[in-house]
Each structure stands twice: as structure tokens, then as C-alpha cells.
């Protein structure tokens, strides 16, 4: 791999009240790749994302982003550094419209403060709002959710909510996108659409993407590399072809599924 290292996880361990969620996990995420993290439920995949976004603080080890140490940086700062994410169980702002959800994610890019907010017309708030609105509309049209622009997200069907959540992550204009099971609960058709969006984001913006997903067909198709976790330990790392046939991975995770994949 000649691409530069973007995010680097070194010897990270994490435990909750005695149970080890992560044990001495290390891997690198390279600039512009799609890296999938797979593994059984409870293997620590989401915990790993939570460490990367500062929601959990690892007991040991370090996480660096473009060479900067972010292990102890608070979550709201990490978002500002350029790491965006979606959530396993959709975590939208249910009372806001699609538009406002995505606008709310532009938060870190706004410059004006509390007093300008109150004054609106003077102090530049209005101008900035319009500028960001334009950017948000681009995201909305890319994800083909124009028709629900002003609909309250709480009432949208699951598949669309997942898409709005992706839009919200895009609005951060991050350099790394962490997707936590973005296709869960979707049928094939919806998965295909979502996969297309993810691939397009990857290609057009050269976005580095970290993906947690259980649909092995999908992971094998779109990931460049795969990291496998089991009981908080990294048991394998490699290309989809290597992982598919890794006996350890088959034992702990894939089971008979590897027959279908080949």
C-alpha cells in the first residue's frame, strides 16, 4: 500500500466494568480507501468507532489522525478535525426537517456566534446561512431526497432516514467517513442504492471510508481491505479475497456464508 496513512489505531484496549471490549487492537486506515470492519456482534466494532470519535476513551493505546493524537480529544472537536460518522441505530434529530438535520451538521463550518444569531441580518449570519444552504442543497440533490426536504425526519421510513443520516455525515465535509451498519434493515434494492451512494462518494471526493457491515456480499464487493474483530481482538486483516478464505475468519464469523461468497 503506497497511500499515506490517514487514521492509525495503535494497541487500543477498552473495557467496561471488567469485560474487555477491545484488546490491543492496531490497524491503519489509508488515505482514500474503503476499509471494512467485520466481526461477530459484540466483537467491539462499534466500540472501535466510538473510540475513534472520542465518545469512549481507550484505557490504553493511541489513535492518531493525520499524525495528530486524538485519543483524548473531546467528540465535538474530533468532528471539527474531519471525522464524520453515521450510527447503528439511526440517531437523527427527529423533530427537525431533513433540511435542518443536514444544516445542523454544518454546525462546525459556521463562523458566526450567539450574538450574530440573535441579530441575523447584521453581523453576517444571513449571508453565511445562504452560503451553507447552497452546499446542503447539493448534498440533498446528490442523495435524491429533494422530495422530503422539508419533511420532519421522525416520520420518514427507515430507508430514507438512513439516507438522511448519510447526508448529515456528508455535510460535515470530513475527510474520513465512518459508517456504522449503513445498510442494516434494508432490502436488496435499497442496499444497492446505498452501495452506489457510498461508492460515488468514495470516487468523487476521494473520501476515506470506514465501514461496519454484516452483509458479506456487499462488504466483499465494495471494500478495498477488511479488518476482522472477534471478542475485541483483531483476528485478521487483508483484502476481501484473503479474508473470504481465512480459516480463522470462517470459524469465528462467516460460517457457511463463505461458500456463497465464492
Amino acid at each position: 500500500m503506497t497511500r499515506p496513512v490517514h487514521l492509525s489505531v495503535k494497541n487500543v484496549s477498552l473495557s467496561f466494568g471488567g469485560t474487555k471490549a477491545l484488546h490491543n487492537v492496531s490497524f491503519d486506515v489509508y488515505q482514500g480507501e474503503i476499509l471494512a470492519i467485520i466481526g461477530p456482534n459484540g466483537a467491539g466494532k462499534t466500540s472501535m468507532l466510538n473510540c475513534m470519535t472520542g465518545f469512549y476513551r481507550p484505557d490504553e493505546g493511541s489513535i492518531t489522525f493525520d499524525g495528530h493524537e486524538i485519543t483524548t480529544t473531546p467528540p465535538s472537536k474530533i468532528a471539527g478535525l474531519g471525522i464524520a460518522r453515521t450510527f447503528q441505530n439511526i440517531a437523527l434529530y427527529t423533530g427537525l426537517s431533513t433540511l435542518d438535520n443536514i444544516m445542523a451538521a454544518r454546525h462546525i463550518h459556521f463562523k458566526y456566534g450567539m450574538w450574530q444569531s440573535m441579530l441575523y441580518w447584521v453581523g453576517g449570519a444571513l449571508k453565511e446561512e445562504i452560503r451553507h444552504r447552497q452546499r446542503v442543497e447539493e448534498i440533498i440533490s446528490f442523495l435524491e431526497i429533494e422530495h422530503i426536504r422539508k419533511a420532519t425526519v421522525g416520520a420518514l421510513p427507515h430507508g430514507l432516514r438512513k439516507r438522511v443520516e448519510l447526508g448529515r455525515a456528508l455535510a460535515l465535509e470530513s475527510r474520513v467517513l465512518l459508517l456504522d451498519e449503513p445498510m442494516t434493515g434494508m432490502n436488496l434494492e435499497e442496499k444497492e442504492d446505498m452501495a452506489r451512494f457510498v461508492l460515488d462518494i468514495h470516487e468523487r471526493q476521494n473520501m476515506t471510508i470506514l465501514l461496519i457491515e454484516h452483509d458479506m456480499g456487499l462488504v466483499m464487493d465494495i471494500a478495498d481491505r477488511i479488518v476482522v474483530l472477534d471478542f475485541g481482538v483483531k483476528i485478521a486483516e487483508g483484502t476481501p479475497d484473503e479474508i473470504k478464505n481465512n480459516p480463522e475468519v470462517i470459524r469465528a464469523y462467516l460460517g457457511q456464508e463463505h461458500e456463497i461468497l465464492n
Binding site: P40, N41, G42, E181, E189, A195, L199, H214, Y253, G255
Partner: protein
């Protein structure tokens, strides 16, 4: 044993969610309900279990009969008492209760003596040995797979005569999906318990089911045995993800977003 006759469900007096759905579950059968999100699968289950009432939904036409009794006017607790239990989507459990307490909540409606309930508990631990080792653990801290086993176990604790499972595979690793479906099959074979299954993963659902229905926008568009459905071109393409020649197609090859085909109806 369960017959749904042409039911119509309306939410909040205005939103029509089900428009004429008829489904049958026979003795000892596993019946799968497939379909896109928003097609009305979960609503169908909730219509059966009576949980619709709490969400301002109503069965406005048609009837639901279970063992020759019309049940669509009953409250959820009366329906559970008749032997129908619904295992909700998303591994919903009483997070702050322990594993064993969660299982026991399943048996709260029964009037059996403790000895019998304890024997059933052992039976659950027989199907899901891992739960026995975790019995004192606060259930909120279990992993996804363990939680799914727990909620199925809790459903069984009510000694149901029909169990409804809503998306048991959602968010689970492939191995676990296989494991859980193996157990579902085993429970069905050993006890003859009929199961109505809502599932997004069409391949595995068709693998265990004896009969399947496909739903789209609030109605049943197709039904048949898994073997019959597997022959259907649309099922192959939209539910099983196969190319024309019968191979798994790659997600990288799907280029066009809008190629939706709908069944007539």
C-alpha cells in the same frame, strides 16, 4: 390455525397501511413474510398481536381468526393469553433487568406453578446454552446476538402456540444469523410451534420457511412455497440478488438508481 382475511389497517384514522392482506399459518408451519421496508410487514404482525391499538392504528376491515376465534378486537394481553406472542423488531429487551428476569417476564402471564416455569427455563437454556452462563448479567450489556437469543427465549417462555418473529437477523453477523435460524428451525421441528417470520434476508428466510408471502405497499403480491418463489425471476433479482444466469451479482455493477419494477396490483 391463524387466518387473516383481507384486513385493512388505518393509522390515525387517515393513513391506509394495509389494503387487503390475507395470510394463513398452518399447524407446525414456518411462514415467512418478505417485502421492502414500509410494505406493511410489521404492521401485519402488530395487527395480529393487538399492539396496533397503542399506536392509534385500527383494523377497519376484514378479520383475524386464531383457532376459530376472532381476535382482532382483543387487547394485547388477551391475545398473549390465547397463545400468540410477538417478538418485536430490534432486540427490544428490558435493559436494566437481568437475563433471567427478562426470560421470566415472558412467563408472567402464565398461571403455572414455579416448578413448571423453572423447567421451561431449563428448556430455554437448552436451546441457548450461552444464556445460562449469562443469567445474572444485566441484559443491556449483552451483545447483539445474545440479545436476539434472549428475546426469542423470552417469547418461548410464554409457551406460545404461535410465535411471530420480526426481523430476527437484523444487524447480526452471518454466523449468528445461521445459528439463530438453525435454532428457529430446531424449535419448530422439536415442538411443532408454528412461526410467522418477517425477514429482510430473503435467502435465509426462504431456506427455513414452509411457505412465504411477498408484500408490497400494503398488500400481498405473491405467495407460494420457497421452491416456487425461488423460480420467480423477480424474486431472484430483487430479493436474492442474482444475475440472469443465476450468479450473485456484484454491488459494484449496479449503476442505475432507478430501475424499480413493481408487481402489478
Amino acid at each position: 390455525m391463524l387466518t387473516i382475511n383481507n384486513i385493512e389497517v388505518i393509522y390515525n384514522d387517515v393513513i391506509l397501511v394495509l389494503r387487503g392482506v390475507s395470510i394463513k399459518v398452518g399447524e407446525g408451519q414456518i411462514v415467512a413474510l418478505l417485502g421492502a421496508n414500509g410494505a406493511g410487514k410489521t404492521t401485519t404482525l402488530k395487527a395480529i398481536s393487538g399492539l396496533l391499538h397503542a399506536e392509534e392504528g385500527k383494523v377497519t376491515r376484514g378479520s383475524i381468526d386464531f383457532e376459530n376465534e376472532q381476535i382482532d378486537k382483543l387487547t394485547p394481553d388477551q391475545i398473549v393469553a390465547r397463545g400468540i406472542v410477538q417478538v418485536l423488531e430490534g432486540r427490544r429487551l428490558f435493559r436494566h433487568l437481568s437475563v433471567e428476569e427478562n426470560l421470566l417476564t415472558g412467563a408472567l402471564t402464565r398461571k403455572d406453578r414455579n416448578a413448571i416455569i423453572n423447567r421451561d427455563l431449563e428448556q430455554i437454556y437448552h436451546y441457548f446454552p450461552i444464556l445460562k452462563t449469562l443469567r445474572k448479567r444485566t441484559s443491556g450489556y449483552l451483545s447483539g446476538g445474545e440479545q436476539q437469543m434472549l428475546v426469542i427465549g423470552r417469547g418461548l417462555m410464554s409457551r406460545p402456540r404461535l410465535m411471530m418473529l420480526d426481523e430476527p437477523s437484523i444487524g447480526l453477523a452471518p454466523m449468528l444469523v445461521q445459528e439463530i435460524f438453525e435454532i428457529i428451525r430446531k424449535i419448530n421441528q422439536e415442538t411443532g410451534l408454528p412461526i410467522l417470520l418477517v425477514e429482510q434476508n430473503a435467502r435465509i428466510a426462504l431456506d427455513v420457511a414452509h411457505y412465504a408471502y411477498v408484500m408490497e405497499t400494503g398488500r400481498v403480491v405473491l405467495d407460494g412455497t420457497p421452491a416456487q418463489l425461488a423460480q420467480n425471476e423477480d424474486i431472484k433479482e430483487f430479493y436474492l440478488g442474482m444475475t440472469q444466469v443465476g450468479e450473485r451479482k456484484s454491488y459494484r455493477d449496479v449503476k442505475h438508481y432507478k430501475r424499480r419494477k413493481r408487481w402489478l396490483g
